[in-house]
């Protein structure tokens, strides 16, 4: 017996997942010398001591997310993981006893535990309503077990492994191939969970299962998950963690579901990778696929507004930010394993905390040594798809002298699996105060039990995914790809060109498949010019079709409408809906107006700032103010405003707008600075299949012309247009002068 124990400790040192013996020794030697780490440790001790005082609770699972048993088991995983670290760092056995006793309770319960009674998931768990959460639990708890492995007796380990960990890992893998074998964030958690407990138990079979998946043929074709996502796409050839690394990211680190889900998925990617680096350095996991994990961490950090909030594209809950625990771990591990980038320290500074491990320790030390440099979020175009060939997103950002940022995110990515929205060529706009033109995000209150148990609400499909919920063209009140994921996942728009440097930045992309008989082409130009106090955004959106259609272009401006340059009739006593389907049934039709002259101008106020949009409009266009909230019998939706320019009965439609943040207001001084736009006029001077020329002017009489070439993105190509007998020539796909 004793011999066996010695053998184990020789072959399989503990801890060796997120912590190592050497790392723990280094931390112990520096206690009291690295203030942020000391503070995080002290906070953890306070928290876990309070939990120990309350006592262990391992209830029989029954609730959905948000309900008691869900929340308790979730808390248990966090508490056990932290207690494990505390045992290692402080040496205080009470933490080990607490974990061991709680694990033994789980081990008593697990063997006879049926499938979770809720039965609402394509892969129902045992502890939770979905296998995903069971996997979350094991990713954390395998770390706790690793920390007390040597503390437990061989008998205790045998009981835990036989009654709890091995069957738990089998349930998540061989017991649920639909869950385990996907290229999807769910399966990443599953792979990591099985692999990490395998490493702790030195169970090579589990580790291999995690790395290489189950036989792919265990998964039926054409099955779909609860979000409508395909469980096994035609092209999938491999499964397992390495296949996730190959298939989840584009070559530059973009995650097809978007940053909200990348934030969620990056955690098991990094935790299992760190565990593999400690146990199987020969795999070189942090170097894998040209350091794909480093790219993924940076793509996470770049897909945020000035305050570190993730762009809520696709299914995302707003408010998620750099401060999420997953990003804290990601920043720390990227700092530790990818060259101590001092910019990451400034992110850690904003996070105000670090992970309780050697990576977190290194970051706290870097901060204490004053090494931090400001994080520079840059303009960047990300490709989508494993090969980078399925569209992408383009981020343009620029700042003025006063440090105010304007940032536009244009989305021309692939469908994004079950969490994708039908918003091809949509955009959202941000400044230092947050959203100017919003993406609605998901119709979901994550973990808030009152709202559908914290899961996606039915309005996520009927509203949030629909095209009209986004800042993009909707034809004939029908969403892109007819709102059908099976069509959407076959197509993607294409980037036409991207230029992300200097005072004139441009992103331009085309979609030929969002509608069967129409092509869409949008070009967004972010301009910094000394004649404007803040940067301005020019939006040129061309739709061309073989047939006549109705074209709607909504902007989901955030805030209070102050002024228009056109008259509108606002419904005073009776509100009806704007339409019947594809999201229109959720919109109240508040007001309709007609442009006077050639421009429609709206001016609004939000977060202490004044904004304006000046759009080319004709007297035939309908100018609609809508508000969300119709057909919302359970108060699931926000009551946000939208402005829609509607062009009816047209074969083609070209929408041109200039959006300008121009002033500010203080509630304590009650002074309004520059409450009105400085834009005087916007015109389309020329517009055909090959070229569009825009002219705009400011109130001081200065004029600009924007030339766009639509059929050749070459930087060297020479173009010319003849406007009223004057020939203008330029080089490359755009020119502003």
């Amino acid at each position: 017996m004793q011999l066996q124990v010695v053998d184990e400790s020789e072959s399989n040192t503990h801890p060796n997942l997120m912590l190592t013996k050497e790392g723990v020794a280094k931390i112990k030697a520096s206690l009291g010398k690295v203030p942020l780490f000391d503070k995080v440790l002290a906070d953890a001790i306070t928290e876990i001591d309070a939990e120990i005082a309350i006592g262990i609770d391992v209830p029989i699972p029954k609730d959905m997310a948000g309900g008691y048993t869900h929340q308790r088991h979730k808390k248990n995983w966090f508490v056990m993981q932290k207690a494990g670290v505390l045992y290692q760092v402080t040496g205080d056995k009470k933490y080990a006893v607490y974990i061991r006793d709680m694990l033994l309770e789980y081990a008593n319960m697990y063997p006879t535990l049926p499938i979770h009674p809720t039965d609402r998931s394509y892969a129902t768990g045992k502890i939770f309503w979905q296998c995903l959460n069971d996997a979350n639990w094991l990713v954390y708890v395998s770390q706790a077990y690793d920390c007390i492995y040597d503390f437990c007796t061989a008998e205790e380990r045998a009981k835990l492994e036989k009654n709890l960990f091995r069957p738990y890992a089998d349930f998540l893998s061989t017991g649920n191939p639909r869950f385990f074998n996907r290229i999807h964030n769910h399966s990443t958690w599953g792979n990591a969970a099985v692999g990490m407990i395998g490493l702790v138990m030195d169970d090579q079979e589990l580790v291999d299962r995690a790395l290489y998946g189950l036989d792919i043929n265990k998964n039926k074709k054409n099955e779909r998950d609860n979000d409508g996502g395909l469980i096994r796409p035609e092209e999938q050839k491999k499964a397992g963690f390495l296949a996730q690394l190959d298939g989840s990211f584009s070559p530059d680190g973009y995650f097809t579901e978007g940053p909200y889900y990348l934030r969620y998925a990056i955690f098991p990617f990094l935790q299992f990778s760190k565990s593999l680096a400690n146990n199987k350095p020969e795999l070189g996991i942090f170097e894998y696929r040209d350091k794909i994990l480093e790219k993924a961490v940076y793509s996470l950090l770049y897909q945020t507004d000035a305050n570190g909030l993730f762009y809520p594209i696709n299914d995302s809950q707003k408010g998620m930010s750099w401060k999420a625990r997953e990003v804290i771990t990601a920043v720390d591990l990227a700092y530790y394993h990818y060259g101590n980038d001092p910019m990451l320290l400034s992110v850690a500074q904003k996070q105000g905390t670090v992970a309780l491990d050697e990576a977190g320790f290194a970051v706290a030390k870097g901060l204490a040594d004053g090494l931090a440099k400001p994080m520079k979020q840059k303009s960047i175009a990300y490709t989508d798809g494993p090969d980078g060939t399925e569209g992408g997103i383009g981020i343009l950002r620029t700042s003025t002298a006063s440090d105010n940022e304007l940032c536009v995110v244009m989305k021309y990515s692939a469908q994004g699996m079950g969490h994708g929205h039908f918003d091809k060529l949509s955009y959202s706009l941000y400044d230092e105060t947050g959203e100017i033109m919003q993406d609605y995000g998901a119709a979901r209150w994550v973990n808030i039990d009152q709202k559908g148990g914290g899961r996606y609400l039915k309005e996520n499909k009927t509203w949030a995914k629909q095209s009209i919920a986004h800042n993009t063209i909707v034809i004939d009140e029908t969403s892109h790809y007819n709102g059908d994921i099976r069509i959407g996942e076959k197509h993607h728009p294409e980037l036409y060109y991207f230029h992300g440097k200097g005072d004139v930045q441009v992103v331009s992309a085309k979609s030929e498949n969002a509608y069967t008989d129409s092509n869409l082409h949008r070009t967004m130009v972010l301009v910094k010019d000394k004649n404007f106090r803040h940067p301005v955004l020019i939006d040129v959106f061309k739709a061309t079709s073989e047939n006549k259609h109705q074209y709607d272009l909504p902007v989901w401006f955030q805030g209070q409408l102050l002024l228009t340059n056109f008259d509108y009739e606002k419904e005073a006593t009776n509100l009806t809906t704007l339409g019947d389907a594809h999201g229109y049934q959720h919109l109240w039709k508040e007001a309709v107006g007609k442009a006077k002259g050639d421009n429609a101008h709206i001016n609004w106020f939000s977060n202490g700032k004044f904004y304006s949009m000046t759009s080319v409009a004709s007297a035939e266009d309908e100018l609609i103010f809508a508000r969300l909230g119709a057909n919302d019998r359970e108060y699931n939706l926000r009551h946000d405003p939208a402005f829609i320019i509607r062009k009816k009965d047209s074969k083609d439609a070209t929408f041109v707008s200039v959006i300008e943040p121009h002033g500010a207001y203080s509630w304590t001084t009650e002074l309004a600075e520059d409450p009105f736009t400085s834009i005087e006029k916007v015109n389309i001077l020329y517009d055909d299949a090959n070229y569009t020329t825009i002219q705009f002017s400011n109130k001081a009489g200065k004029e600009w012309m924007l030339f766009l070439a639509h059929q050749n993105a070459s930087a060297e190509a020479i173009h010319e247009v003849d406007i009223d007998g004057v020939v203008y020539e330029w080089i490359g796909p755009y020119q502003l002068k």
Copy 2:
């Protein structure tokens, strides 16, 4: 000539309004030693040097508030005042030259300047659309002139005084008795302006005019201003600054228009008083009326939420706070003249700045010396009316261990002149995140030109002043006092009792005049109890009448409805208004439900926190969800939600609710703590004209009983009720057990 100059400087030293020669010397001697003051000075130099570089602009007046000429002249007053201080402190003559040259431009313009072309005010100004703003200008500019008085030649002074200051002061006083002779914030500014320039010019006639007003008979009776306020109430016997001090405040420093306007009025009160203290110490102005100005400053600071934002009662723009420039000056002067209260330093700390004068210097020095102590906003009942006999407001506040504050403000004050709202016995509720139950404030966008020139909007009368816009009972869809200021200003509710200490705090007040045939009596009990994570508020609102009525009690809960314990029918495709008049025409009727059982429960989410209200309700009550925004053709209103309990066809109505903040949510951890109320049930056990007994319980089974006596507020009186054969006895007007 030279002799004359020497005489002047002997009899009338400069500067001597807000600055003195001694004060300036003290400041100069300490430059570089008091960091905050140095910073404020450096910022002022940067700002004023930039203005000097831009050059002087004294445009011919033409615009409303928010327009260019208004904003420019307003900026000129601030800039001149600051430049004056800079000249005194730095000795740099460029500041004096700048002021002198700008004043000479005003002196060139003023003699031929007609009345302002807008003609929208009961007292139209010359530089601005109303005399009020002309007076603002002179309060600041008299300080600038004081600072450069000795710098100017006698000829320059003669020209400025003959062409600008004396006619300017005459225009504000003898030229506009309707403006000058009121007991009102407008006239306080007028008095201060005339008095301050009088002190600079050593013009005793002007100083006396300021102190004692014009002959009161110059004002006609029954005239009203633009807000509907009486210009000369029957009882007014005196005018002028001393009469303002007598008549504007209750004996404990409450200002009848509310804190937003107190914040505005306190500035001329303190500036002129400081000037008088320097020039006429024999008046003892800071001691006047038992130190009424000290009480006024503290009442300003106590009428704020945990973040220092003023309660937006009556006509108030939300967002105004401790950080307003007027409050900065008020805090500094109160610190300097009223015993160096270290709590005021912590307010100055939050303000982050000080006034550029000897009071500001003293505060900056106190901060540098580390003397600040936390500001403790306390529970307090303020009386209203010059004699303290016209109702008042009651503020209850309590905090939990986690430093979360719950603060209820109950309003039983007098009408508040033209800026008063028809909301007798209304309340608003705040915690550390801000508003839980809101007061709408004013329908106005101050100085935002797009919205009615920044003035009060018509919706201020049709909506914001109406009773239904507030958290109070509305009978038969008719506002209190029939929404008629002429009735309202004759009446006021009465405080029944106030107890602002300990774990059970109570405010109770009655209104017999809001409706001709009905009496209202509301009792609000703020309870801190270890069984609740946060304090809870119990609201008992009794209406009794000789006749049958419809009683509506709205709560303007802020945030997103999550859950109810009753079914409701929400309008899906067609919204209509809730009523036709008294504000109801602005409400969309979103949903109507009926209680199941005896309680109506709503649960909502705001600012990351969960709140619930559990109300006694019968199956006959209508439970209405309404939303603001109907009959709002110009987008002047916010789209806020309300919940209304409606009792129909009843002689009496007793509304009982328990309001509980109970949980929190984090968008980055996505964890919901205590999302559900801990209240199980609320009952009325006994209710008649003399007594009401409430019982409520929590989900853990603990029960509380609240006994209220309605006819005797004596703390010694013994009461008893017989409930189902059990006799309960208690002492005093309330007991919770």
